[in-house]
């Protein structure tokens, strides 16, 4: 009997000692993390319909849709000298279609909201588009609630990673009659980014991160000021379209991360 009690006490002691980072249920301590997506056009909030954005050569732009897939979103941390990842989700579909006001734009669109193990993370990784692994799948592989049950380009064997749709005024006459429809997909247009910086998650303290897409930087290359000339092509429907490739190349530099 004494031996049994001793073993029981030992077990309790070991469990207690071994779970210093645990919550009341015995699992690792967690806190709520929300990842939002926001949109801007330079310094201005990205708003559908209501805002007019100045573009190059006197052109102007009004937006109706910005939509993007994000893949393999993971927090990064170090353990035993090795970089490890805490996967938040392997795929998310983000649409700014219903962002009608500056307040909507500031509030952002929820990408993922979940309990995450409490740690001192060192960064966040995000795939911009649909990862090649997932891009090899097709909508019938999923049920109709899954983000990848839609937006598939059968002829290109690819999901449409990004949609940029709106109207342009090309000649400064105040009429936005030129239709812009840039759809970007294909593994050649997939990229990933890693944001490095402390993301310290503490138990009981919900944390919010905001991933911003700057549309201006997608359309106008930061390094040399090269821009996609709407007068050249107002739509892109293929994986190799020059407009699609140009914009896809700019996307990694057009995203930024902030802690709220």
């Amino acid at each position: 009997m004494k031996q049994t009690l001793f073993l029981l006490a030992l077990a309790v002691a070991l469990i207690t000692a071994g779970c210093g980072n645990s919550d009341d249920n015995g699992g690792p301590a967690t806190t709520e993390l929300t990842l939002l997506a926001t949109g801007t056009y330079g310094d201005d909030p990205l708003v559908m319909f209501e805002r007019t954005y100045n573009y190059e050569d006197g052109m102007q732009l009004q937006m109706q849709l910005l939509q993007t897939y994000l893949s393999d979103i993971a927090l990064v941390y170090e353990e035993d000298g090795t970089e490890k990842e805490e996967l938040l989700t392997n795929i998310a579909l983000v649409s700014f279609a219903d962002v009608y006001t500056d307040a909507d734009a500031t509030a952002g669109v929820e990408v993922v909201k979940m309990e995450v193990p409490v740690r001192n993370y060192t960064g966040l990784k995000i795939g911009l588009g649909v990862s090649p692994e997932l891009n090899a799948t097709i909508p019938p592989d999923y049920d109709l609630t899954h983000p990848l049950s839609q937006n598939y380009w059968e002829d290109a064997s690819s999901y449409i990673f990004f949609k940029i749709e709106g109207n342009a005024d090309l000649d400064a006459d105040g009429e936005f009659q030129e239709k812009l429809t840039y759809h970007i997909g294909g593994n050649n247009n997939y990229s990933s980014v890693q944001f490095t910086g402390a993301i310290d998650l503490e138990k009981g303290t919900p944390q919010t991160l905001a991933l911003n897409f700057d549309l201006q930087e997608i359309l106008i290359r930061q390094q040399d000021g090269a821009f996609w000339d709407f007068r050249e092509a107002q739509f892109a429907h293929s994986t190799t379209s020059p407009a699609a490739v140009f914009m896809a190349e700019n996307i990694p530099a057009a995203v930024s991360l902030e802690t709220r």
């Binding site: 319909f49 936005f176 009659q177 239709k179």
Partner: protein, 353 residues
Amino acid sequence: MNRFFGHITGAILLFALSNGCTQGTTADTAPAPLHGPEHFVQLVDYPENPYHPEKAALGQMLFFDPVLSKDSTLSCGSCHLPERAFTDGKAIAVGIENRKGTRNAPSLVNLAWVTTGLFWDGRSPTLEAQAVHPVINPNELGSDWPTVLQRLRAHPDYPRLFERAFGGPLEQEQVVNALAHFQRSLMSSESKYDSIMREEAAYTVLELRGKHIFFDSSEELPDGECGHCHTPPLFTDQTYMNNGVQEEQAPYTYTDPGRGAVTGAKYDNGRFRVPSLRNITLTAPYMHDGRFSTLQEVIEHYNSGGHPGPNVDPKIRKLHLSDEDKLALIAFLGTLTDTSFVRKLSDQKALLQ
């Protein structure tokens, strides 16, 4: 009297077809998940009204039974005829006492996949919620639910059939659940297009040209911009769109506000549900108000770029299609006709009448 016996005979046959081995008075109402074809996105269970084929068979009886209308002259099937892929051939649906509705009767094909609302404006979130309305709409069946329930409960067969299918009393909830079941079971996936996808058939030269125009998949041909919204295999992306079909009266103001009347967002004014193009050759006239009698007229509309407006979709633009391009598009659209679906449902309807 003949109609009455027809209904009963049809009901017996349909129940036999739906559950041929069931004996006794109570059906095995254990859910039997609804499955779609392999090349469609997978369906999810709907736990609020778990699927069972016997409930769908009962819903089919109700769907074609004029008992649901105020004067017992019309049924759901009066405006949703199987032989027309569940449309009626009229620009605007006509209800009891020849009352004109407000919009075109939409096709009811592949509704099991609809997740973004029913009706042209998406005002009902589910088939169950949708099924309540036509019964009481004064311009459709024009009845009221107490009357409908009274008639069904006094019917020589329905109480027993409801008891058998649902294992409980005959209430409004069971009636709309049965109707929703039947509509959820309407799957059309055996067109020539589907056969081609399975590599069991091939496009003609004209159809293939039309397919490339439809999906913007050839650099030698103009883009039709159709496949953005009419995405396969459902041939709808389930969104709401202003396709420039209505002339704007003032900014964001239209004769029929469509989706905007539901959401209250002015940006949704003039937007309507993107309909599936499956069986499109059978569902004329077209658009929410049936303004186009033929597919030629529809294509002329899109080729013209439609009426301008701030929320007209950017994909609606002048297409510069040649006459041959237009014929090719119509030829491709013809490959979406599923005669086996139409024939099967028409035959079943005949059994019920």
